[in-house]
């Protein structure tokens, strides 16, 4: 049974410096507030994993939480680039960021292998692309033992911690997700430890068509964080704040404005840390 705790207690208990951490949510139910809490607690040296790093990873990378990023599509959806991510990759600010990139099909299969307790997964993918051969320790070819067909093997992803956001949980931590459910269940089951933030904790979960339930005994911590996915959306609770994604473009283009934004949003501790050893604002 999951522990129902506050967000700061959950991050303190589950996320340590140097961990491999996956915050998942495929445009829907992005665990943004959990990402902010990781910034607030000043985590460093993380390997961040996410299919679609968007503004929450832009913030975490800009605040200096990450040394490495594993992803398959990195952008501000409908707007453009992630400027903090680009600044880290192109100029090493506030610290260098190593990247490992995949296709979506590759990433989902890496999670599926992790969730299945297998060392790798097999797919038709990557063949002929520039992604093949860039990271032979995680993507390589394999011959089918039955048909001799050449296929691609991707190494299992086993994050130390998975963090997802869901609509609701009951008091045993059984967690209910509906709408676009993405790869969150696989991420939780692939990870050693997991945190689910929810819009609300209820006495009883009502069945929801097409919904996914993750049993509470498969989750470590559940934290009630109403609005925790904003500015992404929570189906049945609130809509995507498209203006916030647009506004992020201007804030994130400039190091100074970004640092100011962190301070204005209660992440000032991280501002100081991010400045350690950094060469000043561009």
């Amino acid at each position: 049974m999951a522990d129902i705790v506050s967000l700061d207690e959950a991050v303190d208990a589950l996320v340590s410096d140097g961990d491999t951490v996956a915050l998942e949510g495929f445009t829907h139910l992005i665990p943004v507030e959990a990402g902010h809490e990781i910034i607030r607690q000043g985590r460093r040296g993380l390997t961040l994993v996410r299919m679609t790093p968007d503004i929450v990873y832009d913030r975490m990378i800009g605040a200096g939480c990450a040394d490495r990023l594993i992803f398959s599509w990195g952008g501000n959806p409908g707007v453009g680039s992630l400027h903090r991510l680009r600044d880290a990759v192109e100029h090493g600010w506030p610290r260098p960021l190593e990247i490992e990139e995949h296709s979506h099909a590759g990433m989902v299969n890496r999670y599926v292998a992790g969730a299945s307790g297998l060392p790798f997964a097999v797919l038709r993918g990557y063949a002929g692309t520039g992604l093949m051969g860039r990271q032979p320790d995680v993507v390589t070819t394999i011959t089918c033992p039955f048909t001799d067909e050449q296929l691609v093997a991707v190494r299992a992803l086993r994050p130390d911690v998975a963090v997802i956001h869901a609509q609701r949980a009951d008091r045993s931590g059984n967690t209910q997700i509906w709408g676009i459910t993405g790869v969150q269940k696989e991420a939780v089951l692939a990870a050693e430890r997991s945190l689910v933030t929810v819009e609300e904790v209820v006495d009883e979960l009502e069945p929801h068509p097409g919904g996914v339930v993750i049993p509470g005994w498969a989750v470590d911590c559940v934290a009630a964080v109403p609005g925790g996915a904003a500015p992404s959306y929570a189906h049945g609770y609130y809509d995507r704040d498209n203006d916030a994604y647009v506004a992020w473009d201007a804030v994130s283009r400039d190091r100074g404005r970004f640092v100011e934004w962190l301070g204005d949003n209660g992440m000032a501790m991280a501002v100081d840390a991010a400045h350690d050893g950094a060469g000043g604002a561009a």
């Binding site: 990139e101 296709s103 990557y126 002929g128 992604l131 676009i180 459910t181």
Partner: protein, 264 residues
């Protein structure tokens, strides 16, 4: 947006080169049964198609929404409107493994930052040094496997020397690789690109060489404009057709969709 205004359709209504491109792209889905839709230009065209020539078209987005009929253009591939109006919403592993990979989906509808003579697509980096790129683009997303496993691929992209290059800086998604036989050697199960729609006209692969060849122009566009916007020596089909200008109905549907969409 390219806001060039064309000379005007036969009925005297003006339209932009981008509108002509979206309408031509929508028409290209006329005989399609299902379409795996990329965001941006492909999504606009697919939604026009659904409301004009192809009302039964099954639209599929990589967020796991199958048979979706959004009442406005989705702003991202996981827009809530896609889930609300879908026949089925499945997980992301399921959409790639059960639906795309076995070749169940007819058309893959993609955009590009660069495309080359063999219709290979780059959406990863501009510049030949991966570690020191001139421009870091978002990356692959679903495109490599869409390009590999859909029965055929249609690309929508504005034509310029910046986008139409001899060889893409990075192969994110394979078209015809190095030419004839590449797809077979790589084990790609779909037929690959069959059509590229631009703001100037249409290109199709030459069946002998697999090289993209100009086969049609939009009204008022000259062959030389297409040549000048192409970074390799563009082959021209023996017979170049001129496409019909957008109809009033097509333009109305396209503009209504764009107006109903909050602008980002």
């Amino acid at each position: 947006m390219n806001t060039t205004t064309g000379a005007g359709g036969p009925d005297g209504h003006g339209y932009s080169a981008d509108e002509m491109m979206s309408v031509a792209a929508a028409r290209s889905l006329r005989d399609a049964t299902s379409c795996f839709v990329g965001i941006g230009l492909p999504s606009t065209a697919a939604n026009v198609a659904l409301r004009t020539a192809v009302p039964d078209l099954v639209l599929i987005y990589e967020s796991g929404t199958i048979g979706t009929r959004p009442d406005r253009l989705p702003l991202s591939i996981g827009d809530g409107v896609l889930a609300e109006t879908a026949d089925a919403v499945v997980t992301v592993p399921e959409i790639f493994n059960y639906w795309l990979q076995p070749g169940r989906i007819d058309v893959g509808f993609l955009g590009a930052a660069q495309i080359d003579r063999f219709a290979n697509i780059n959406t990863t980096v501009i510049g030949t040094d991966y570690d020191q790129p001139k421009v870091r683009l978002p990356g692959a997303g679903g495109a490599p496997e869409i390009a590999g496993s859909c029965r055929r691929v249609i690309v929508v992209v504005r034509q310029s020397l910046r986008t139409f290059v001899e060889r893409v800086d990075f192969v994110t998604s394979v078209g015809f690789g190095d030419g004839p036989g590449s797809r077979e050697r790589l084990g790609l199960t779909g037929h690959g690109p069959t059509l590229v729609i631009t703001d100037l006209g249409l290109l199709e692969p030459d069946p002998r060489t697999c090289e993209l060849m100009l086969t049609a122009l939009h009204p008022g566009v000259e062959v030389d404009q297409a040549r000048e916007a192409t970074g390799w020596k563009l082959e021209i089909a023996d017979e170049i057709t001129t496409l019909d200008a957008p109809t009033d109905d097509e333009l109305r549907v396209l503009r209504e969709l764009e107006q109903a969409t909050p602008h980002t």
